[in-house]
Assembly symmetry: C2
Homo-oligomer: 315 residues x 2
């Protein structure tokens, strides 16, 4: 008998990972609406943007303003991506609850996307930790290991490398670590095997699983991770966030689909899925339907959905 957790947390990453790969610049007012509605639908962790120079990602240039607004929403863990010490210093200034530092386990992907080797990212995390501790801020540092299952540039990524970087991130002072299938190379078996090994290294500091649906496996991979004890998942509304190397391919796990899967299994996410589907319809209008993915929105919730939750809460 597999053990399933009573609760799980979804972290909405559409405002960062989703919008980052969409050329359309969503106006700040719309993003605030998104934040407000996502929070109202029950999401309690949201990655609101990326603290990088505006010339690199004009879509995310308003991140500091979003952090400020998000901090006003009760009970929300406000996450922000930071690529380097300078971004981390800005994150500390904004008062974000968590800063996510991406490390790419694929050396080629790391050079191409981060302009650093994985070892250089680890060294930067040590500097971030020193800056955080010196500042007295409570902002958590999460080391997010991307391309953990392979990558379009390098192909194979060895699990041993991933686990070595994980240990190095923890040694450098990361409070938490995560594993991400950045470009859709994971399968449930690989997920299970890597997360089981990662758990041995990081224990409760193994924080989050991040899957893309590039080849349809985001939910199967999420389930495989859940079985290893993961209870926190990244996802983006409408599955936005396609891979630049596979035009038209699906993006992140869709928040509404993953929320449905977990809730239907009797795992409490605190999310009102009807409200999330309404927000998805809204987002589809803002972004045009072509960039959205996911499946639940077509069929809607099953007839038994509420009943299943009620039955479960009694058993």
């Amino acid at each position: 008998m597999t053990f399933y957790p009573a609760q799980a947390t979804l972290r909405e990453v559409g405002l960062r990972d989703g919008l980052q790969s969409i050329a359309t610049v969503l106006p700040t007012e719309r993003k605030l609406e998104w934040l407000r509605a996502a929070h109202a639908a029950g999401l309690r962790e949201i990655e609101v943007g990326s603290l990088v120079p505006a010339r690199l990602l004009p879509q995310l240039a308003d991140t500091a303003a979003l952090v400020a607004y998000a901090r006003s929403l009760p009970g929300l863990c406000v996450c922000v991506l930071v690529p380097n010490l300078k971004g981390a210093e800005r994150a500390l200034e904004t008062g974000a609850d968590l800063m996510l530092v991406p490390l790419s386990a694929s050396v080629e992907h790391s050079r191409a996307n981060l302009r650093k080797t994985p070892e250089e990212v680890v060294a930067e995390v040590a500097r971030m930790r020193a800056a955080r501790d010196a500042s007295g801020a409570k902002t958590l540092i999460e080391g997010g290991i991307g391309t953990a299952f392979g990558c379009t540039l390098q192909g194979h990524v060895a699990p041993e490398d991933v686990l070595r970087y994980m240990q190095a991130l923890l040694d450098a002072g990361a409070d938490r670590v995560s594993l991400a299938d950045t470009v859709g190379y994971a399968n449930p078996r690989a997920v299970r095997e890597l997360f089981e090994r990662a758990r041995v290294i990081a224990g409760e500091r193994l924080w989050c699983a991040h899957f893309h649906d590039t080849r349809g496996l985001a939910l199967a991979n999420s389930y495989a991770a859940l079985e290893t004890g993961v209870t926190r998942f990244d996802a983006s509304l409408g599955g936005i966030g396609g891979c630049p190397h596979a035009p038209g391919a699906s993006g992140n796990a869709a928040t509404e689909d993953l929320a449905f899967m977990l809730a239907d299994m009797g795992i409490d996410t605190g999310i009102d899925i009807d409200a999330l589907l309404e927000l998805r319809a809204q987002l589809a209008q803002w972004l045009s339907h072509e960039t959205l993915h996911g499946t639940l929105w077509r069929a809607g919730l099953p007839k038994t959905f509420k009943a299943a939750q009620a039955v479960d809460s009694l058993s």
Copy 2:
């Protein structure tokens, strides 16, 4: 550590479950091409149609001719759906290797779709078994329990009912039994729990898992079933076979996506996925793209795909 099987079998059901729900009548010549190409791509079990009166399902009126052709393809297990004794007698005449008898665990669905109660289907299976034994034919009888996880008409379907019908089908002489999530009500937890209980009842006679992707969970559910020891899965090329109660919703698990998931996990299905993707593109032309689903076809196989298989065969 979870045990994964070395091999798994996909049963292509697009020619029956897929075409059944599509108004377009695919000409017999196209179906023969599909059969030929599917066999060439490595599929070794195909449900070629349904032996029902042509006025009920004109799309499948050529089933007997397809059985005859399919029998000429080496090593192919030729499956055909039969709703009643009359269909079974025709199946015995055609020399099909396996006849699949649908039983709907939802009494309301059973009445609406089969015009019989589940108990009446069990009684019919006993008559089919007698007819098969009297004929001397080797055609296997598979009792396929549909709406095993819930249904749009009735809502909740109790696992106890499903398991009771499974035992009754075996007692009535079914050689094999299967569980089907006919309208997309399953989740991985429910799959795991029901298949584990079914295994206790049916042992090795628990034959096949049949999932629909109505709410995006076909692959996650397949993985959950795999973990309970299932090594045979129904799937349809391009995921055709939508639910009539959810217009536009996804259909069956897509053969190409499921084949990819299993192969990427190092599980041998004998399927050439590139060939399958070519056939899918062909089918998309025949049927128009709107009726096809699935995800792999957009992104294609990952760079590491062949390598992953080679690495796996060494480990």
